[in-house]
Subunit: 259 residues, 2 copies
């Protein structure tokens, strides 16, 4: 595959970031964007020189080298049934769907999962995103890596179980973390202080976590085993906030104040 021809199936957040990046990096030529919503397909195709928008299965190119599926998990099966079955490489970008979902299309299929949260309208450097790949055979995985490595700086192997555990890690590191920020925002709001007062502290906490590792960077009352401060804080909290404060403090203390 010198410069593979690619059909991008899907025009959502992930597709909107990776399809133009694939074309502009030169690792592939996105010839079509396929989506049921022709408006979305047109909007994405407009960002990719030479790409055409299509919304009917019959119009999908039957001479592509790679069919790249990036739709919501629930929609993968429908897209699979719409694609032509050929000796091409079929990939999906989902972290939680097994690669077997593509097994009926070809002998060459796999997963192409970028670990990042994408939003339309927010520019991101795709090259900095870690990519996790799995292929239907060692040779196929090599093809996927060869294709991806010209764009993504870091490409890792990850099977279904590893992707699942990675997802759990991301839930802790991002979704739960964001919820704690919401709680902090609410606590500050009650004192008429903007969440933004925590920004320098948060940026520095994140920086330290990556310089030293989070477990080595743990600070605060629980890390010091300071029961007096912990009890004083618990007195001012109730409901879920109190339960969360208690459980996380106990967990920090149980891990020797080291996270």
């Amino acid at each position: 595959m010198a410069k593979p021809k690619i059909v991008m199936a899907g025009a959502g957040n992930v597709a909107t970031h990776i399809a133009p990046a694939i074309s502009f990096s030169g690792i592939g030529e996105v010839v079509q964007v396929y989506s049921w919503h022709i408006e979305s397909a047109v909007a994405l195709a407009a960002k990719i020189p030479g790409a055409k928008a299509v919304n009917a299965p019959a119009e999908i190119a039957d001479d592509a080298d790679i069919y790249l599926i990036s739709v919501s998990d629930d929609a993968i099966a429908s897209v699979v049934s719409a694609l032509p079955k050929r000796d091409a490489l079929y990939l999906h970008t989902s972290g939680s769907v097994g690669m077997e979902a593509l097994a009926g299309l070809s002998e060459r299929y796999g997963v192409f999962y970028p670990l990042q949260t994408f939003s339309k309208g927010v520019e991101l450097d795709v090259r900095s995103v870690p990519l996790f790949v799995e292929g239907s055979s060692a040779a196929v995985e090599d093809q996927i890596r060869e294709f991806a490595s010209g764009l993504f700086g870091r490409v890792y192997h990850a099977d279904s179980m590893t992707r699942k555990k990675m997802h759990i890690s991301a839930v802790f590191a991002c979704n739960f973390t964001n919820h704690l920020w919401s709680i902090a925002e609410e606590l500050l709001r009650r004192d008429n202080l903007p969440f933004d007062v925590l920004r320098p502290l948060l940026v520095e906490t994140l920086r330290k976590a990556f310089v030293n590792s989070p477990s080595a960077s743990q600070t605060g009352p629980a890390a010091r085993g300071d029961r007096r401060v912990i009890d004083g804080h618990l007195e001012l909290l109730d409901g879920n906030e109190k339960e969360i404060y208690k459980l996380l403090s106990e967990s920090i203390m149980a891990s020797g104040g080291k996270g």
Copy 2:
């Protein structure tokens, strides 16, 4: 106070950042650094043109306009007993000690609390740090604000109770968050993946939280009410990790998936 003369009492992390910043910004002239550990005092004084290091109470200047105390909470009382009692302004930088700790020194005293985590050897732009102040009278608080505003970009009033609630917010937003990152690090380590694979995701999550507010940015299985994914994740966890996953998911769902 055109350009107040300042005695910096303490040579720890906070003092090491704010004393040079005070001198270089021109808001004050740090004439002495006082610390029991003469080596620390010498090291900090060396960073401030014209500042002298002292470690004996008798050597502390009795003609300063401001005595700025930045030592560990437990050491404040000892430093107070060592300082000359004069008609000067006495300030401490602690978030958790009341300003009354300084009441025996003068009628003019207060709190000068920068909300940031400082580490020696890590450069920080002090101007971006929010400063929380409280004065023994309205006139004194005005003096503190006038002095501080030439260096700190944002100066807020905060009494003891507000500082305590701010500290609780920071525990949620930074200490607990860091603990969740430690858990993610440990989960990834079991699959031989570096914590660094989460960096782009974390940086983007933090960025979104400040663009839209964290409560508006909540994503993930609990925010979608996706019990199937949540149960699948819980099966792979145990101990504190499982309890934390459960409680935080419930809390996200209870807040309508909005943090």
